[in-house]
Amino acid sequence: MAVPLSYSWRNLVTRRLTTTLTAGGMALVVFVFTATLMLAEGLRQTLVSTGSPGNVIVLRKGSETEVQSGLERVQASAMTARAEIAPGGDGRPLAARESVVLIGLTKKSTGKTSNVVIRGVEPASLALRGQVRLVSGRAPQPGTPEIMVGKAVAKGFAGAEIGQSLRFGKREWPIVGVFDAGSTGFSSEIWGDADQLMPAFGRNAYSIVVAGLREPGLFDAFKEAVEADPRLQAEVWRETRYYEKQSDMMRKFLTVLGVSLTLIFSLGAMIGAMITMYASVAGRVAEIGTLRALGFTRGAVLLAFLAESTLLGLIGGLAGVGLAAGLSFLTFSTTNFQTFSELAFRFTLAPWIVALSLAFSLFMGVVGGFLPALRASRLGIVEALREA
């Protein structure tokens, strides 16, 4: 017969200070663990949702990011004329030749400079990026130096609101609109007319070509045709895959750092649990003797103590995940090492993260409680009762 679970629970409640301290330590560990995973997941989701599944992106062969890439006008135009590309609303191919340049802007929060993507776009760019929609002001007129800024840029950088203007390339660029691209990388960008921006930066080449395919199945045909053409010297990616790749390095870094740290912390927390549980056993020797005398088996005693420490882990885990869940309201903004540009993203709590974090906390509880529970179950009835 098993010892009722309420016995284990009551023991935790009785020693409130100790329980709080131990569970608190575990909660902090779980908090750090969860927060790390949330950060990596937020980064991934932001970049993955930046790409659209039906779009392809063409870069110069060998370049890893848009900023490094360059496609001459002739090459770029040859690609947009291909038959795999869907027609746009205006009857012209649904394809945009874009130029991507980084500019340094001053962050409101720290007063320091950070790199922001300024994207020279064509009319088709908006049609290709369904996530982008104007929230205030208006879209820039083609053929003028007007620009619009992403929501994260308007919020995070000084002098980037409607009515203000940015100065670079010997020219003023009035801001006429703010756009929202949800939680995608575009929210951290500035958009203007490619034909205006390229001369300002002394550029003759576009950075990329983005195009919508007639149907997703044509991807391989398009890729093969473009990559096989020796004049083009280009490589083709599905847009979603391209953006996902941009998060690889940062994600790996965050995960390696976060997980190795929590592993070290969890050692500390398990030791904390072990101390608590040993004390709990030591303080209740007589009680254990009584339980055994009443007929509870060694296994039942072992389970009761293991349940106690597992509960302790669960309390810590729930508290830690709860604390971390509060982070999902925060936006985190940093420079992506790979693209070298500022990117705002959220702490994102996915169900698998909750599950993993709770499993981790239970694991800490079980490991921390195992040896003490074993000791409790091994006590001899007679000696234990003599202690009373």
Binding site: V67, F265, Y278
Partner: protein, 385 residues
């Protein structure tokens, strides 16, 4: 003497618990030390920068080029000693996983500009006379088992194509914070090749590295240089190498903040572990403390005893952490070499570990000590531990 013995015996009365507490404190302080070392590594480029060097780059952003032709005009600014064009090459060796920093540089004054890169005179000469050669750091050489005379081919991400070059020199850092994972090769090689492959992109540089004679005049010289190019097609931004490096660090400020926050969480964890032990210890011995009180020991004496016990455990843990950290950091240095070329434990980190260890000892004892000294004898006797 008797008191000391009592403290020692009490601290280790539950031997297992004492050992666990010490290990717990040690683990958490080691984690704290590792985090601090990561932060230091982040700032390594800043610490290693020279006060006698300025960097001139395009004012728009670092990724915009400058015309090579600016060099002559910068050269004429008073106080400027050396001007060398340079740039981030961003080449990839075999595939992206083998990342290491690689730069192009003008080599005429290279070794005078970077006195912290130590190369034997023969290797210097060999590197300077071969335009298709490279000089690499010792750690980089170790990582790929490259030796002098080997040919390495980089695949250009910014400058398309394959770029073979011969390793002619391997440098050693003059200071512990010199980055030994960098590859430098000739700007001349890059520019000549670009002239053939894509003439429009020739004659451009990423930045100018400028050596000045008098570091105290850095601000003035920077201003003079930028004034030369105001309202030109490519306006410049000149700053000290230190400020330039700080700019990189500032970009990842959010991550730095997160790491700093985490390191305080670690301190909180240790505190929880240590305080827990002391609280349990005090609670279990309330009866004993009552006996001691009856015998005439005052509250301060009892509090002092608990404090001494707590200090003993905390400091033992601290000592352990200080001992383990350097070898552990060495292990990390190997694993994270790609992200952090410089990774070593600074004296400040060890001092901070010791300080936090002390603080934990004091704070963990505070509440239990107060409780013990406040308890009334009769209450203590009545209570069953």
């Amino acid at each position: 003497m008797l008191l000391l013995r009592l403290i020692l015996l009490n601290a280790f009365r539950h031997r297992l618990r004492a050992v666990l507490t010490i290990v717990g404190v040690a683990v958490a302080l080691t984690a704290f030390g590792l985090l601090r070392t990561v932060l230091d590594a982040w700032h390594a480029g800043v610490e290693a920068s020279s006060a006698n060097r300025l960097v001139t780059r395009n004012a728009v952003s670092l990724t915009q080029p400058l015309p090579f032709a600016y060099k002559g005009r910068i050269r004429q600014v008073t106080g400027v000693d050396i001007v060398a064009a340079g740039g981030w090459f961003g080449g990839v060796y075999l595939d992206e996983k083998n990342f290491f920093p690689n730069f192009v540089v003008e080599t005429d004054d290279f070794f005078r500009l970077y006195p912290e890169l130590i190369v034997s005179p023969e290797e210097q000469k060999a590197f300077l006379t071969d335009r298709k050669s490279a000089v690499i750091g010792r750690k980089l050489a170790d990582r790929f088992h490259w030796r002098i005379g080997d040919t390495v081919t980089l695949r250009g991400t910014i400058y398309p194509g394959q770029w073979p070059m011969t390793i002619r020199a391997i440098y050693k850092g003059a200071r512990p914070d010199t980055d030994e994972t960098v590859l430098y090769f000739h700007y001349g090689y890059l520019d000549e090749t670009m002239k053939k492959r894509s003439p429009r992109r020739a004659g451009q540089v990423g930045f100018f590295m400028i050596g000045i004679r008098d570091a105290t005049r850095a601000a003035e010289i920077s201003k003079d240089i930028d004034a030369l190019f105001r309202n030109s097609q490519a306006e410049t931004l000149t700053e000290t190498e230190r400020a330039f490096q700080l700019g990189f660090v500032a970009m990842s400020e959010a991550i730095l903040l997160a790491i700093t926050a985490v390191s305080y969480v670690v301190i909180a964890i240790i505190l929880a572990i240590a305080a827990n032990t002391m609280a349990m210890s005090a609670r279990e011995r309330l009866g004993e403390f009552a006996v001691l009180k009856t015998l005439g020991f005052g509250a301060p004496a009892l509090a002092g005893m608990l404090l001494a016990e707590s200090m003993l455990l905390a400091l033992a843990g601290t000592a352990l952490a200080i001992a383990v950290l350097p070898p552990l950091a060495k292990g990390f240095a190997v694993g994270l070499a790609q992200y952090f070329p410089i990774f070593f434990v600074s004296p400040t980190t060890i001092i901070l570990q010791a300080a936090f260890g002390l603080a934990v000892g004091v704070l963990a004892a505070a509440v239990p000590a107060w409780r013990v000294s406040a308890v009334r004898i009769a209450d203590a006797f009545r209570r069953i531990g």
